[in-house]
């Protein structure tokens, strides 16, 4: 198929997002004939849905980072740790690799994900035509890497469940963890809702 044929059939053929079966666009192509999933040319909601999810994630990002995620109480005293103070603690106690892992997974990745998705949405809304392949690759990377931010939630969960030694130390989960978990979930859904085909639509509107 040459370029012209490919471009001309873009508006005519719809591929099922679930089973990849190709359908001819017509009056009665609402559900995939093979798997029953709803057929749509582009993901429903458009850029607006992604923006809404990103906005919600940004709002929750503040309590997630400002409120403590662990409350450690021992005979020496009690200590409330946020994500960042936890990273600093690891650096000060000499565990550089762990500090790096937590910093990348819980500080860098969520921030980067919000910025990248915001950039992709803007580039689609302003019908940017350059670097389409790179932006698609960026999107794929964001989708894959985003899940790793959940690591901090698991760490807190494990610490709380494990450290119940009463007299020596007690670890409780702080309110920040729940907000952070929600931020990760929201950014994951936002990445799923973004349709990378919109990046390539800018070419068609001449």
């Amino acid at each position: 198929m040459n370029e012209r044929q490919q471009r001309e059939s873009v508006g005519i053929l719809i591929g099922c997002h679930c089973c990849c079966k190709v359908h001819l666009q017509g009056s009665n192509t609402l559900k995939c004939s093979r798997c029953g999933a709803g057929l749509h040319l582009r993901k429903p909601g458009g850029v607006a849905r992604v923006w809404a999810l990103l906005l919600a994630a940004v709002i929750l990002y503040f309590p997630a980072n400002l409120l403590p995620i662990t409350l450690t109480s021992s005979i020496v005293g009690s200590q409330a740790d946020t994500i960042l103070s936890g990273v600093i603690y690891f650096v000060q106690s000499g565990s550089w690799p762990i500090a790096l892992v937590i910093f990348i997974a819980s500080v860098f990745v969520p921030m980067a994900k919000l910025l990248i998705l915001g950039y992709l949405c803007l580039s689609v809304q302003y019908k940017c035509r350059i670097s389409r392949r790179e932006r698609t690759r960026l999107y794929r990377l964001t989708e894959v890497v985003g899940r790793w931010s959940m690591i901090d939630v698991y760490v807190v969960g494990i610490l709380v469940a494990l450290v119940k030694l009463g007299a020596v130390a007690n670890v409780d989960a702080g309110p920040g963890v729940a907000y952070f978990a929600l931020v990760v979930i929201l950014t994951m859904i936002a990445a799923q809702s973004f349709d990378p085909r919109l990046i390539w639509d800018a070419e068609e509107d001449h």
Binding site: M1, Q6, V10, L13, I14, G15, C18, C19, C20, K21, V22, R34, C35, G36, A37, L41, F90, S93, S95, I98, V101, I102, R132, R133, T136, R137, R140, R147, W148, M150, I151, D152, V153, Y154, V155, V156, G157, I158, L159, V160, A161, L162, V163, L165, V168, A169, D172, A173, V177, A178, A181, L182, I185, M188, Q192, P196, R197, I199, W200, D201
Partner: protein, 227 residues
Amino acid sequence: MLNEISLLELQLFWACILLILHSWDAMKQTIFCCHDCGIVNRVASLPSGGKAFCSRCDALLRRSCPDGIVRALALAIAALILLLVSLSFPFLRMENAGLSQQSNLLTSVFLLFEQRMPIVALVVMVTCVGVPGLYQLGMVYVLLPLRYGRKAPQAVMIFRLLRSFGSWGMVEIFLFGILVALVKLVKMATVSPGISFWSLFILIFVIAAQSVVFEPLDVWEELEAIR
């Protein structure tokens, strides 16, 4: 003689039409709408183990996986066994001044609920136990009858559900979480990984292998053919 040639040409013509129609309504799908850029690609037959990429955006369209269904089924059963082991044994053991504490994945979740942290407990429960477990169960439910040429009831709907929520399983991230917690706790007491830790470790490789040797399009084509 002229009539005979015309008849032959007519038969050839119809054969071509049928071939085109057959390749459209494919047993082996040849036309794909790229899910990342929307362009239409035509995929020639793939060599064994080969991959087809979109001509415009390099998205993976299809992978050729010989015996994919049988291998995925075997790995799914292995994953279920490993999950059962992971849930039944402790994943971390901690000792300090004679007092020992160990945490089991399931009891940890219940403890988190008791600590009035329902969101965290729910996240751990769903992403580390619920989704991986249900996903593998669903795979066995669909693939086992398929291996013998049969279609389980509601197999299409269940497989569709599997494809949609499968990406929410985060077992490998949970394992890294255990490692980080381990480093943090080493200061306080002597910590050692339990059986569940190792079964989760192997489970990660099983899940990774499953995603490599399995092509969902093979299942969709089988399900369609059996109807």
